[in-house]
């Protein structure tokens, strides 16, 4: 039915069994109508192009992308979303199985996964793993590596959904404490929380890599577009129009001022009703562009005569990092063998399935920003400077965050929303489109690495010289951190007595490169681990033995001269892989003897990563308390972006306090009520915030015990009728007799932990980190030598985590990290202007991931809570070099550039003599 006057089309259908009617623009996407007009915000929008499957719904039983279907076509149909389906038999089984297998990490892809899985279970009953992969191949997940999703759906089909009994203590695979909303459609992400009627904001961006611009007649534009409530430009930024995450590198404007340094850079924003904005064509915004020649790589940026993109940065060098230990060049000169190479990596996109989103409103004269984030307090600090407001005037309320991997450490939507809400005095919301998310948010740094490593005949390393240029794009973001971290880590977890490493960040007209799982270390590990294999081959030493011979051990200095007298766990990681190294290697040899076109090889690589900030203060504070009714409240400010800090930090806290973690009420990182637990970055939350949680739990336990004079080993029974049990009996705590503070606490604690580090000297010598985590990966790869395609068939990952707080969460981190490492190795390359969507930019799908076995090594660390070390970034670091080494062993082709696309691999195969 259609109203000819307005072209609005009325559509009636059944939504989760209820008759609904919706008035929508012709051609409006069903996903939009469901979310915005019918309140079905369990339907997630990840790409608006059918590339991710997050918005999957069932229409008359068939799984379709709601973003590709006109609402009007649903007329008379039955539309089912997760909220309805979870009440069905299949949906209920899936919800249980997803929880039991921790198949949901951040949860943003989960509705699409579960809805697709319901259709599959209705179709085939008890699917095999292959049937699951085939049916769900169109839904992307960036967190899990897919294995646990496959396991969960197979289990749900088989009816095997009983929950394993776990105590919840440290070391047990406790189900995610925040898991239920992720599997029943209630989880509220950045775009799910705005109040009805909030105005919408759209950013106007540069379509050019490098350009000058002049804004046109804004008043005329507003007169022609009366629905526009507000136009924002650089003139509207009351405070500093230059932000950044590293002090001294605040070089990025909220809105560019007449000069744009990258494609996608914001120059203005408009605010209006969501419906009007949806009909608006951004090319109608009045602006005149003068396109300038762009600088797209580091060679151009450093060339004589290249324009300085930022004043005072000659040759566009942003900054550098440096480590010198011993005499690298002397050692290289006396080495018996030397391997060297120039390595190239590209921009890599984080590709979380949740584009940046949120809303802001003004409440009692303060601005509240609700958005997805990895770093609420850093967001608050950035806004204070940009808005010229005191911190107290800004409240950050983190929403659920649908993946981050480093990019959501930087602000995105926050300054636009806060500015608009303050100007208009009413709620303003926005969600980045996939295209603008890819264009404008940070990337992994492309690296140009020259590396030379020597070794003696007995296999001992003899000198390493590393030079790395990292393309930091148009703005610094976390580039200084990359430049700083890489020289410390580029040795790998090995004893390199003579070492020289320099890394520099270079400005270009690319998108800002910032933090991405590993801060440059995955790039340097590729060069180092690939050359290690070449050295071992030259020496005729087994590649695993070669690494073991040089592996760091307790008491031996790192390249920073740091000596750990405990906790160095790389050797056990390698040793754990030895049986498979031998067995898989033999199987590959047998396979290759029988096959000409297909060749298989096994590759090994190691890695390490220092947890927390490099030689800088890095505190986390955890506040907790007891209410009069006996409720234990934990203010858990470590942003859980899917990795599981809500569960892990609570397990640590509960263990220290002596209660069941399931009985703890968790409060999130709202800056009004929860202290700063630092950013979710640098594999620091389990280590640093975990320690703060341990200290808080211990302190609260002490207070409770003191109240009734109970001994250390007494048992706490909190909750209603809270009491303490000891050898002499039960002692009532009578909490309701105690005075409560303004937050309702009758007891409260707040404890801070800051890892012990020391500054580095001019040669990078010192104590950069209180702990490192260690990893070694083994990949079995099959190469189709005629087509140049590579498939990873099997994978084994050994990780020294110090102490496994939650083994299932560890597997999730490892499997997801390996997936990202596999993407880095084989398919992911963000090319500005060309791969700004998820069909030209490829991340691994269900069909690209091998079976992954995680081997947990527990070399306890004296600084870690209960001995635990960080893990998030370690999971990815050895993956790509292990795959490259496997390809070389399979075929003899030695790759110096990732991703190893089929075209690049085929060229290398030909060079290696393959037909």
């Amino acid at each position: 039915m259609m109203d000819d006057q307005t072209a609005i089309t009325r559509t009636g259908f059944k939504l989760n069994g209820q008759a609904v009617s919706v008035d929508a623009d012709p051609g409006e996407r069903l996903s939009h109508s469901l979310r915005e007009r019918l309140g079905a915000r369990d339907v997630k929008v990840g790409c608006n192009a059918g590339d991710c499957g997050a918005c999957t719904v069932l229409v008359d039983g068939a799984a379709v992308c709601a973003c590709l279907m006109p609402t009007a076509r649903a007329d008379g149909a039955q539309v089912d979303t997760l909220t309805g389906l979870v009440r069905s038999d299949e949906g209920a089984r899936l919800a249980l199985a997803f929880q039991a297998h921790q198949a949901a990490q951040c949860g943003i892809c989960t509705p699409g996964m579960m809805v697709s899985a319901v259709a599959l279970l209705r179709d085939v009953g008890a699917p095999t793993a292959q049937q699951v992969r085939d049916a769900l191949g169109g839904v992307l997940c960036r967190c899990t590596g897919y294995a646990k999703i496959v396991d969960a759906i197979v289990a749900a089909g088989a009816g095997n959904v009983a929950q394993a009994e776990v105590s919840g203590a440290v070391g047990t695979a406790l189900t995610r404490l925040d898991g239920a909303p992720k599997v029943d459609g209630r989880e509220a992400f950045g775009d799910d929380v705005a109040p009805d009627g909030a105005l919408a904001l759209r950013v106007i961006r540069s379509p050019h890599f490098h350009a000058r611009f002049t804004l046109g007649d804004i008043d005329g534009f507003r007169a022609a577009h009366p629905w526009v409530a507000l136009v924002l430009t650089a003139d509207d930024v009351p405070g500093s129009n230059a932000f950044g995450v590293i002090p001294g590198f605040e070089d990025q404007p909220v809105f560019a001022e007449g000069y744009a340094r990258f494609r996608g850079e914001p120059i203005a924003a408009i605010v209006g009703s969501a419906d009007q904005l949806a009909r608006f064509d951004a090319s109608d915004f009045p602006v005149t562009w003068e396109d300038l020649p762009p600088i797209l790589d580091v060679a151009e940026a450093m060339a004589d005569g290249a324009p300085e993109l930022h004043k005072g940065h000659a040759q566009n060098v942003m900054t550098g990092g440096f480590v010198r230990h011993g005499q690298a060049d002397d050692a290289l000169a006396r080495a018996d063998v030397v391997a060297e190479g120039d390595f190239t990596t590209g921009f890599v996109e984080h590709a979380y399935i949740e584009p940046e989103a949120g809303f802001a409103e003004v409440v009692d004269g303060r601005v509240h920003v609700h958005a997805c984030t990895q770093a609420p307090v850093m967001d608050q600090q950035m806004l204070a400077k940009a808005l010229a407001l005191p911190l107290e005037s800004i409240r950050i309320v983190p929403t659920a965050t649908g993946g981050g991997f480093g990019s959501k450490l930087d602000v995105s939507v926050q300054p636009f929303l806060a500015l608009a809400a303050l100007k208009l005095g009413q709620p303003v919301r926005m969600a980045y489109s996939r295209i603008e998310s890819m264009q404008s948010t940070t990337k992994r740094h492309p690296a140009q690495i020259s590396l030379k490593i020597g070794a003696c005949k007995d296999g001992t390393l003899s000198g390493m010289h590393f030079e790395g240029l990292f393309n930091t794009g148009a703005y610094a973001s976390w580039g200084p951190t990359v430049a700083n971290r890489v020289p410390i880590h580029a040795s790998g977890p090995y004893r390199v007595a003579d070492y020289l490493a320099q890394a520099r960040g270079i400005y270009t007209n690319g998108p800002p490169a910032g933090a991405f799982r590993g801060f440059g270390v995955p790039q340097s590990a590729i060069a180092q681990e690939v050359l290690f294999d070449e050295l071992a081959d030259q020496l005729g030493i087994d590649a695993l033995d070669f690494r073991l011979k040089n592996a760091l051990v307790n008491g031996v200095p790192t390249v920073c001269g740091q000596v750990f007298d405990q906790g160095v766990g790389i050797k056990p990681c390698f040793e754990a892989l030895r049986p498979a190294w031998a067995e898989w290697g033999a199987a590959c040899a047998a396979f290759n003897a029988e096959n000409d076109t297909l060749k298989r090889g096994v590759g090994i690589a190691g890695g390490w990563y220092g947890c927390g900030n490099t030689s800088l203060p890095n505190p986390s504070t955890i506040k907790a308390g007891l209410r009069a009714d006996g409720t234990v409240v934990l203010h858990q400010g470590a942003a859980d972006i899917g990795q599981g800090s809500n569960t892990v930090i609570t397990q640590i806290f509960a263990q220290a306090l002596g209660v069941d973690p399931r009985d703890v009420l968790i409060k999130g990182g709202d800056t009004d009520v929860t202290p700063d637990a630092g950013k979710t970055s640098a594999s620091r939350q389990t280590f640093v915030t975990g320690n703060a949680a341990r200290l808080s739990g211990t302190a609260l336990r002490r207070q409770v015990l003191a109240l009734v004079n109970a001994p250390e080993d007494a048992v706490l029974r909190l909750g209603p009728d809270a009491h303490v049990q000891d050898g002499s009996g039960a002692h009532d705590l009578r909490l309701d007799q105690l005075p409560a503070d303004s937050e309702g606490f009758v007891m409260r604690v707040a404890e801070t932990y800051d890892p012990p580090t020391e500054p580095l000297d001019e040669n990078g010598q010192g104590v950069p980190y209180a702990q490192f985590g260690y990893a070694a990966h083994l990949a079995l790869v099959e190469v189709d030598t005629r087509l140049g395609t590579a498939r990873v068939l099997r994978f084994k990952a050994a990780h020294d985590v110090g102490r496994a707080i939650n083994p299932l969460l560890i597997e999730g981190q490892v499997e997801g990290g390996v997936a990202q490492g596999l993407g880095l190795a084989l398919m992911e390359e963000y090319i500005p202007g060309r791969t700004e969507n998820l069909h030209d930019y490829l991340i691994p799908t269900f069909g690209d991931m091998p079976e992954i076995e995680t081997l947990v090594i527990e070399e306890e660390d004296a600084h870690g809570p209960f001995g635990a070390k960080g893990l998030g970034e370690h999971a990815l670091i050895p993956t790509a070099p292990a795959i490259l080494n496997a390809i070389a062993r399979a075929t003899g082709a030695r790759l110096r550039q990732v991703p190893v696309t089929p075209a690049r691999l085929r060229a290398a195969l030909k060079e290696a003599g393959h037909a």
Binding site: D25, G50, A282
Partner: protein, 275 residues
């Protein structure tokens, strides 16, 4: 203005004459808009009479233009359609296959359209309906260039007519940089009729290696009479001389030619195994 979803072709043609934008499955229609607004005058062709479904058409077959990939994958069809079925299972993911249509794939006229190579081997004619009546055009002539089709003002693609392919068997191989949900670097379809252990006739088509997917007629001629167990050496470089691949983010031109030589051999062998 508005959303038109007629049953009758006359109403569809009227809407088209009013300037409506044609949507079938929507799987290309929406992504092609980027972040821009969607049209306010839309003609949905998925409910038009005769536009969806696969039927016998004399000795041949008729496939409605709005037939989805899932419809094809699940249809009971002879082995000649095996290549088309394989392609149907590799278009996007299941969500795309449930919505995307054969006709949309052809009208969208991407050089990497997964449906084109297997359909070219089936030698169909497309049925076009317009204000001046219906006409039929060989598929090979219908798609004229990247994003260009011989679709005249006011015309709709209604169906494909496929002549009886006899007891031949089809094959299809798609080369992409990942397993699912991937745009082809190159793809090859083959249709082979084997008699007495030899190729009686064969048709081979290559996609994503020329502005429009195309048949390799010289190769097809040379395959006649070749013993099935001797197919491995049948493909020579000059058989590929009509291909003119470009280099893009998915692969270089040289790589495409190199890989396609291998893919052609494999697709023929796959088809011959089914024949």
């Amino acid at each position: 203005m508005g959303f038109h979803r007629p049953d009758r072709i006359e109403d569809a043609l009227a809407a088209l004459a009013s300037g409506a934008s044609v949507i079938a499955g929507g799987t290309d229609w929406y992504p092609s808009r980027g972040d821009g607004p969607v049209p306010m005058n839309v003609l949905d062709v998925t409910r038009l009479q005769g536009f969806r479904g696969i039927t016998r058409d004399g000795a041949g077959w008729r496939i409605g233009a709005a037939t989805t990939w899932t419809d094809i994958a699940r249809a009971d069809l002879p082995p000649a359609f095996d290549g088309l079925k394989r392609a149907a299972r590799e278009v996007g993911g299941l969500q795309i296959q449930n919505a995307g249509t054969l006709g949309g794939n052809l009208c969208n006229a991407s050089p990497a359209a997964d449906g084109m190579p297997p359909l070219l081997t089936l030698d169909p004619k497309v049925e076009l309906i317009g204000p001046h009546g219906a006409r039929e055009v060989p598929l090979a002539d219908f798609v004229t260039g990247p994003r260009q089709a011989d679709l005249r003002e006011g015309e709709l693609l209604a169906a494909l007519h496929i002549p009886d392919p006899g007891p031949s068997a089809g094959g299809f191989i798609k080369l992409g940089a990942r397993k699912y949900l991937v745009i082809s670097i190159a793809m090859v379809a083959a249709l082979v009729h084997v008699e007495g252990g030899r190729v009686a006739w064969a048709r081979v088509a290559v996609g994503a290696c020329s502005p429009v997917a195309r048949r390799l007629s010289a190769l097809e001629a040379d395959l006649q009479g070749v013993a099935v167990n001797a197919l491995a050496g049948a493909v020579r470089p000059d058989h590929l001389k009509d291909l003119s691949p470009i280099g893009d983010v998915r692969g270089s031109a040289g790589y495409r030619l190199d890989a396609v030589a291998e893919l052609v051999g494999r697709a023929i062998a796959q088809a011959a195994r089914g024949a």
